[in-house]
Amino acid sequence: MTQTALPTKGRPTSGLGAPSGPRKRTFTVTRGLIVLAFMAPAVIFVAIFTYYPMISGSQMAFRKWNLADLTDTSWVGFDNFTAIFTDPTFFTVLGNTAIWVFASIIPQLLIGFALALWLRRRFRFRGVYQALIFFPWAISGFLIGIVFRWMFNGEFGVINDLLVKIGIVDTPVPWLAKPGTAMFALVVANVWYGVTFFAIMILAALQSVPDELYEAAALDGASKPRVLFQITIPQIATTLALTVLLRVIWIFNFPDIIYAMTGGGPANQTHIVTTWMIETTQRGDYGHASATGLIVVAVLLVFSAFYLLALRERKEVRS
């Protein structure tokens, strides 16, 4: 990355590989060298420390590979996958993952949307308010898990204290000790964390909606719900749909809160696929963990493909 920087002299002349750039630039050796030299460090780092381990991790899925016994790392075909699919825990884990993703994302989307709609208008202290409610972003999921674990503590947790004071429950609830309430507590923490992301993305999308549309609607005397459903939502629909997809993938792969709050417990009942996989890795069974990882990738690919297809069809129906 040091010896680069050749000066580009004059106009480029040759017309090789004519790209479709905004300004119809043509290929020259000099420009090619600059691209190569400037891209090289980024590509090399990502290749060595991200792609190489990922690919070599993928092949472990088809091997016996346990840190406890590295003398035998023979190929075992689909044995790791069979072991996973015949393990009843796997299906609990898969179900948990679905709950974790959808129960988190729907409230995140709704609250984030409402926040974005209201933040779009100018009001006094808007900047301060925005900074205040965006701060969860600066905190790691792990720490958020710890903070919520403390708040959901069965004996000295503030959430029980508040609920008893308000009169919603009579006696403190041991939130994290039972699977159902534990999952609920996890989702609460995740919703708290993720609203910010939706608020930010939707706010940005809203700001790209032309004001004239709203002015025209106001002239026509359109009601607020009509403006929302016939102007705002259609205008940002694509961004919204893609944000939801990215978020589904991200939350699917997001173990930090669960890892810190319950560690997958009690009795494996709050594991999602990624926390389960981390546990397997920590036991040293890399073959099993990699196979789980590949299943995750496959599930996400299939989901994304269907989602994008459905999205495209809807668009075609509309237009």
Binding site: P41, A42, F45, S56, W65, I139, I146, T239, M277, G293
Partner: protein
């Protein structure tokens, strides 16, 4: 009638915004309050929403009983080094991706995007083995190298968005004057987009500062632990010592919050620009 409606709407809006602000801030308030209670006061009824006396005992304990100073220093070193190098590298790649058309461009962008979608835990085991081969297990340099690679994709996309907003007339003038690309990039363009570069750096820094699973996997000696790894050790031992944990959490959150407060506007700009423009 319409004015009546808008009054109701306004009340709802203010109520909602206030409620959400309270919900957002409460966990932070609670962990901070907890950290200033004495260990005894934390486990006593009724819960105190404002401590009777503010005690620094938990904070002092962190530095006396645990080597919290070392952990802070480790986190600071690793995060600063990784964020600085990653931001530099991402400036180069982001610049090229914003200014040049080349055949493998969309392939590179796709490859960067994919890194965000595949569970990184699939690479956890192999990364450990790679570090064994390189002799970098339990060394800060190893962690720095990996963090750089983790930071590059997102910050490249972010910086690319910022570069796209700088008119290229600026560097073209410099190039005609005989500047090299590299000089033009660092002397002419970088000063103009300082906020974007700082935002990318802070974003990277915070991500490294918060990273847990890679450092837990790679750093096993106490003297090399980063803060999240140390907190993780607080948990996995039988009982959580909530008093120290609360103080440690506050110390961990504080710097990132301060940094974010400075840069959040630009980070939001960079991320949304990157995402919207693709």
């Amino acid at each position: 009638m319409t004015s009546h409606q808008s009054v109701v709407g306004r009340v709802i809006r203010v109520l909602f915004l206030t409620l959400w602000a309270v919900i957002t801030l409460f966990p932070l308030y609670w962990i901070t309050i907890t950290s200033f209670k004495t260990p005894g006061a934390i486990f006593s009824y009724p819960l105190a929403y404002w401590p009777e006396e503010f005690s620094l005992e938990n904070y002092i304990g962190l530095f006396q009983k645990a080597q919290f100073g070392t952990y802070i220093l480790n986190s600071l070193t690793v995060s600063t080094a990784a964020a600085a190098v990653a931001t530099l590298i991402a400036m180069l790649s982001g610049y090229v991706l914003a200014r040049f058309e080349f055949r493998s461009k969309s392939a590179v962008l796709l490859a960067f995007l994919v890194t965000q979608m595949i569970p990184s835990f699939i690479a956890l085991g192999p990364l450990y083995l790679l570090m064994v081969q390189l002799g970098l297990v339990d060394q800060k340099l190893g962690l720095v190298l990996i963090y750089i690679a983790v930071c590059i994709p997102v910050s490249t996309v972010m910086l690319r968005g910022f570069f796209a907003n700088v008119p290229d007339a600026l560097e073209e003038a410099a190039l005609i004057d005989g500047c090299s690309r590299l000089t033009a990039l660092f002397r002419v363009i970088a000063p103009v987009m300082k906020p974007g570069i700082i935002a990318a750096f802070i974003f990277n820094f915070v991500n490294c500062w918060n990273e847990l699973f890679l450092s837990v996997t790679l750093m096993n000696s106490d003297e090399n632990r980063t803060i999240p790894t140390a907190l993780n050790a607080f948990i996995t031992s039988f009982n959580i010592e909530w008093a120290s944990m609360a103080a440690a959490a506050v110390l961990t959150i504080l710097p990132t919050m301060v940094l974010f407060a400075f840069a959040s506007r630009y980070i939001v700009q960079g991320l949304t620009a990157g995402a919207v423009k693709g």
